[in-house]
C-alpha cells in the first residue's frame, strides 16, 4: 500500500497548485510559513489575490533577489518580501483585527492532524520549546481555513483522524483539506471526499484516513499539472 501511495501522491507543489485554484479574484489570503507559501506562486492568471502577513503587511509580492533584501520588509516567516502596488503597512493589533475580525477570506496552513469535526493540531508536538505564533488566531478568524498536508505521516499513520491526539490549534475550524491524495471538505462532523488522485479508489483512501470519509455526490479525479 505505501508504495502505491508513494506512486500516486501529489508533490507539495501540486498540492499548493490545487489549493491556489480555489482562491477567487480579490480574495484576501494568509499563507502559513513554509509549504503553504508556495500557493502564491500558482495563482491563476487574471485573478488577483491580496496576501496578508501577520507582522503588518497587505499586498506583498515575490521574494526579492538575493542581495536585494531589505530586512525591515519581511513576512511572518521572517523572509524578505517585496510590495505590490496598493500595499499597506499597519501595526500588530490592526493586523490581528483583520484576522480575528473575519476580514480574511482564506487562511492556508499546514497540519500535524485534522479531525473529522474540523479540529486542527499543527503547533505542538508536545516536546521541546513550544511556539505558537499566529496559527490560533488564523484558524479562528479566517472565513475559510484550509489545510495543506501529506495524507499520512512518514510512518504511514493517518493525518486525517477521528480525533486529534496532539495539542489542538483550534476547535472545529478546518473547512477544507488539500492532501497529497485528495481534496476533502469538513462538513457536519465528517470528512467529505470531493476529489482524489486518479490511481486510488475511495476504499483505498478510506484505508489511510482516520474517521469517517463520506462521499456526497460525485468524486472527481484531481487534475493537476506536473510540478
Amino acid at each position: 500500500m505505501s508504495e502505491t501511495l508513494e506512486k500516486h501522491k501529489l508533490s507539495n507543489a501540486q498540492i499548493a497548485w490545487r489549493a491556489a485554484q480555489d482562491i477567487e479574484d480579490g480574495a484576501y489570503v494568509n499563507l502559513g510559513i513554509g509549504f503553504p507559501e508556495m500557493v502564491a506562486k500558482f495563482q491563476p492568471e487574471n485573478r488577483q489575490a491580496v496576501f496578508h502577513t501577520e507582522n503588518g503587511v497587505l499586498g506583498f509580492g515575490k521574494a526579492p533577489k538575493e542581495g536585494e533584501e531589505d530586512w525591515d520588509l519581511i513576512n511572518a516567516g521572517k523572509k524578505a518580501i517585496t510590495l505590490n502596488p496598493g500595499a499597506a503597512f499597519f501595526h500588530h493589533a490592526d493586523s490581528f483585527s483583520m484576522i480575528r475580525g473575519g476580514h480574511l477570506d482564506v487562511a492556508i496552513l499546514g497540519a500535524f492532524q485534522v479531525a473529522q469535526n474540523g479540529d486542527l493540531a499543527n503547533w505542538s508536538t508536545g516536546k521541546g520549546v513550544p511556539a505558537v505564533g499566529g496559527a490560533m488566531d488564523l484558524v479562528n478568524g479566517a472565513k475559510r481555513v484550509c489545510v495543506l498536508t501529506d495524507h499520512v505521516t512518514k510512518n504511514g499513520e493517518p493525518k486525517l483522524v477521528d480525533r486529534c491526539t496532539m495539542p489542538l490549534t483550534g476547535v472545529g475550524c478546518v473547512t477544507r483539506v488539500y492532501s497529497s491524495l485528495a481534496v476533502i471538505d469538513v462538513e457536519g462532523g465528517r470528512f467529505v471526499l470531493r476529489e482524489k488522485v486518479a490511481g486510488l479508489s475511495v476504499d483505498d483512501l478510506r484505508a489511510v484516513t482516520g474517521g469517517e470519509l463520506a462521499t456526497d455526490g460525485e468524486v472527481i479525479d484531481i487534475a493537476v499539472p506536473d510540478l
Binding site: V50, L58, P85, G86, A88, M98, G101, G102, H103
Partner: protein, 235 residues
C-alpha cells in the same frame, strides 16, 4: 480587483429596509453627505443608524430622520446647534435612542471590526448607562462589560482612495471613519480623490483596503457644517 463604483446610487443600492448602518463623521467633519443623500433618494425604512450624533439642521443624518428612514439611533450625543429633527421625533416617541458613552461607542465599533465580542471598560460603571450590564472586578477596580457593535453597512468619507480601497482622511475628519470601515459587513467609502494604485504611500495608508468593499469618487463633496450655515435642506 477593482472596488470603484460609478455612482452614488449604485453605492447605496444594497441597503434595504431594516438594515443597520454605521455612518462616519463627528458633527459635520467626515460625514459622507453625498452617500447619505443618495440613501435618502433610495429611501429604505426602519434603519438603525450608528453615528456619534443624531444629525444637525436638515441635511445628512437629520434629513434621513426627517424623511422617515430611521427607526433607531445609536449615538453618544444627539445634540447639535440645530437638533430639532431628532428631538421632535424622540420626544414624540417616534424614534428609538440607544445612548452610549463616546469612548465605549468607539471601542464597541472597533471590537466589532476586530472580532472581540465583549470587553470591560471602567466607563459608565455605577451610572444609569450601565444598568443591566454585567460587571466585573479586576485588580480591585470595577468595570462594565460591553458588547461589540457591528453593522450591515458602513458609509464613510475619506480624502484619498484607490481601487483596492486603501484610504486616507483629511485632518479631524478621520474620527469614526476608520473604525466603522472595520465594523461594517459592507463598507462604502466616498473619497475626494481617486488615485492610481501606489498613489498612497504604503506607510501612509490609514484604512487598508481589506476593510473597504466599494469606493466612489465625490470630488466636490459638501461639508455638512457649511451646508447648515447656508441653511440647506435635503431633499
Amino acid at each position: 480587483m477593482d472596488k470603484r463604483l460609478g455612482s452614488l446610487a449604485e453605492a447605496v443600492s444594497p441597503i434595504g429596509d431594516g438594515a443597520t448602518v454605521m455612518i462616519g463623521g463627528f458633527g459635520g467633519s467626515g460625514a459622507p453627505i453625498e452617500l447619505i443623500h443618495a440613501l435618502i433618494d433610495k429611501g429604505p425604512k426602519n434603519l438603525t443608524v450608528i453615528n456619534n450624533n443624531a444629525g444637525n439642521g436638515h441635511v445628512g443624518i437629520a434629513a434621513m430622520i426627517e424623511q422617515g428612514l430611521v427607526a433607531k439611533m445609536i449615538c453618544s450625543f444627539p445634540r447639535s446647534s440645530d437638533p430639532r429633527v431628532f428631538n421632535e421625533k424622540y420626544l414624540a416617541g417616534e424614534i428609538e435612542l440607544e445612548l452610549v458613552p463616546q469612548g465605549t461607542l468607539a471601542e464597541r465599533i472597533r471590537a466589532g471590526g476586530a472580532g472581540i465580542p465583549a470587553f470591560y471598560t471602567p466607563t459608565a460603571y455605577g451610572t444609569e448607562l450601565a444598568e443591566g450590564k454585567p460587571t466585573a472586578e479586576f485588580d480591585g477596580k470595577h468595570y462594565v462589560q460591553e458588547r461589540w457593535l457591528k453593522a450591515d453597512f458602513a458609509l464613510i468619507k475619506a480624502e484619498l482612495g484607490d481601487q483596492m480601497g486603501n484610504l486616507t482622511y483629511r485632518m479631524a475628519a478621520r474620527n469614526f471613519n476608520p473604525i466603522m470601515a472595520m465594523a461594517g459587513a459592507h463598507t462604502v467609502a466616498q473619497v475626494g480623490t481617486l488615485v492610481p494604485l501606489g498613489g498612497i504611500e504604503p506607510e501612509q495608508v490609514i484604512t487598508p483596503g481589506i476593510f473597504v468593499d466599494a469606493v466612489v469618487e465625490v470630488s466636490d463633496a459638501k461639508q455638512e457644517e457649511v451646508l447648515n450655515r447656508e441653511g440647506a435642506v435635503y431633499p
